[in-house]
Symmetry: C2
Subunit: 400 residues, 2 copies
């Protein structure tokens, strides 16, 4: 026995490092070669503005390289652009209200360090974006699920939950909500519920984390005010990203919040500001209304892909499913016909060369085996149709 | 009183978020307009490869945009380049041994989550890189300082410390060391000490974190094996970065370690892989030996700047200081003449328009007021000379 066989590296790990890390969604992303995956919310590469981003990068390196390539903070010009857009939406933002991160998922992942000691109550929607929920679970939050219906979070159920906790002297740390083009369910919360949600945050002194990754991708209907615009008391934190509206690879999300919260998020963002190069490239690209024009193009593309997918579902799936047509975003959320399990359907669909996200991945409380999420964002339209046909065939066989 | 005046957001914060975040080094980085700061280890923008990076970015966006701009892991091709360089240095690396981060400071900042519960013992050098040490302090590690002399960490003192802890049944979590072109002291640890350090890690079952940010910038003398190359038992973790050899703005550092450690670091790197775009740009830039040729150019530049600074010190400073000429890196570390306090000298130098890093910033235990760090990396050579002349004038006045 050598001396070091007496010692295990694992014995040096913290409690939270001891648990082996788990891949977020397992093997579906690999798949067989011919697998058409409708599981993930990747962006459509067809509209990545390659040449424009290359031109922006060249311009930044030609005339601003000394700042772009050295150590430094997030480019203040990009923060200004974010502030300007927020003000156009009725949010009284200042630069001190903003932090940029390597994707909004980084910012969501930092929230537990700011707010969550093990056992603290966090309220989440059921279903919800599991990337965020998983981080809250990793922090050993006590996750309490508030149901979502076709109008988003059930705010009456939320109120009852808050009232019950208050009666026990428990103050939840935050409410995580996706009010617009919800991930995964696609639904959008109407104005009245938004107002009540914001009022409940103030009444019970609970931060509302509004995840608005998809809000700019509205296919139809009138825009609704975001929660931050309805908030006059500083309880709403708004999180968004360039991943869905420009490209995930620019790795830049952002949050608007009370400066006290922003300062703490920055403290735990250990590597400092966001890439001084990438944030300059985004700002350069976005100048002169180009970013807004690009979003208009994306809306057309994703709307047509949503329509192609829904038409394919109507054509290929057996009767008995239900879905709510999303007015924007990346996802169709579908309740399966009675007797079809999402888990079993996924296994069968994979043998036919198609995959989706089973609803069980979207709840912290184990439910969801009668629901699936189908992403229309990534695959080309003909692949969407082939994928839906394969899943439909699998459903028919299960029901036969 | 409105309802929400009953509640404070601060009451929702975790214990570690309650303390207000502090800027790393305070106001010196701002300075007055004419201030020549020799305080920070910024890179010299003169050799940023602007055109080549723009060409690499354009090439990536022209033929690899679908992967570069979507969600995805750190570019495997860059990991392969890192592995190849490690193997050339005698480290038996595989891709599973490597993680990339947004600068090596991100990886160092993640270490406490993997290893440090409050009160755990971490051994650090005195002086050391305070960016890292500050993160270990934030995690409430019990930091124990091992002295550094002109040959790096005093490994006999380390051995005694390890023996004493072992006698108490305490196993330190890791030893943080900068064996080559030490920050701030500039010294390099000879082979015999390296061998003993690696052997002590294995003997006591303690991880050795080898920070090698500057190791490629050798101005003279023969290269020494890095600690990872001397380690056959897996206790050495090696951390390095493209910040000093390419540009800080590419925000890419990396670590080599036991895969068990890499997996945990990845778990706590909540935003996932490192920018699929930036990592492709770096790999594209680095192909065909260009990275190595660029390092040769940097070595020439920084060597001449070191020589200019040392000559200016000899010319301008009053007798009584001591310094060890660094064989590489970014810094001159200087012991002040008796009777000169670094803190007082900094205040006086600032009134003359020059700044440096007082030694007190480089120790976790409060010592260092008789030492200063002078960075020759960032300022143009004529500014180095003017800055040194100003600091020298301030020293003369203090001693007068």
């Amino acid at each position: 026995m050598t001396t070091s066989e007496r010692f295990s590296i694992a014995d040096l790990f913290t409690e939270s490092a001891k648990e082996a890390p788990q891949p977020m969604f397992g093997a579906a992303q690999q798949g067989h070669v011919p697998l058409i995956s409708l599981a993930f919310g990747l962006a459509d590469p067809a509209l990545f503005p390659r040449a424009e981003l290359a031109a922006a990068a060249a311009a930044v390196l030609a005339d601003d390289a000394a700042a772009a390539l050295n150590y430094g903070p997030t480019y203040p010009g990009l923060i200004e652009q974010i502030v300007t857009r927020l003000r156009q939406e009725g949010v009284e933002a200042e630069p001190e209200n903003i932090i940029a991160g390597y994707g909004s998922s980084q910012i969501l992942g930092l929230l537990p360090q700011v707010f969550v000691e093990p056992g603290d109550v966090v309220l989440i929607e059921g279903p919800s974006f599991m990337g965020a929920v998983r981080r809250f679970q990793d922090a050993r939050a006590n996750l309490v699920t508030i149901p979502v219906d076709e109008h988003g979070m059930n705010v009456d159920a939320l109120e009852e939950t808050l009232r019950n906790f208050a009666a026990q002297g428990v103050r939840p740390k935050f409410i995580y909500t996706i009010p617009t083009f919800h991930n995964p369910s696609g639904v959008t919360m109407p104005l009245e519920r938004r107002q009540k949600l914001v009022a409940l945050g103030a009444e019970y002194g609970v931060v509302i984390v509004e995840d608005d990754a998809y809000g700019d991708l509205r296919f139809e209907g009138d825009p609704l005010p975001n929660l931050a615009a309805l908030d006059s008391e500083g309880w709403v934190m708004r999180v968004s990203t360039y991943s869905k509206t420009l490209a995930p690879g620019v790795r830049t999300g952002w949050a608007y919040a009370n400066p006290e919260i922003i300062a703490r998020l920055q403290k735990f963002k250990i590597e400092g500001g966001n890439s001084p190069f990438l944030t300059r490239v985004i700002a350069r690209y976005s100048a002169d209304g180009r970013y807004e024009r690009h979003i208009e193009e994306l809306v057309k593309l994703y709307r047509s892909k949503r329509d192609r997918m829904v038409a394919a579902i109507e054509r290929e799936f057996p009767a008995g499913y239900t879905l709510v047509l999303p007015e924007g975003g990346f996802f169709i959320w579908l309740t399966l016909p009675e007797g079809v399990s999402a888990t079993a359907l996924l296994e069968h669909s994979k043998t036919k060369g198609a995959a989706f996200l089973p609803g069980t991945h979207c709840y912290a409380n184990g439910q969801g085996d009668n629901e699936i999420r189908l992403s229309f964002s990534f695959q080309p339209a003909d692949q969407l149709e082939t994928g839906i046909a394969r899943i439909g065939a699998a459903m028919h066989e299960i029901l036969a």
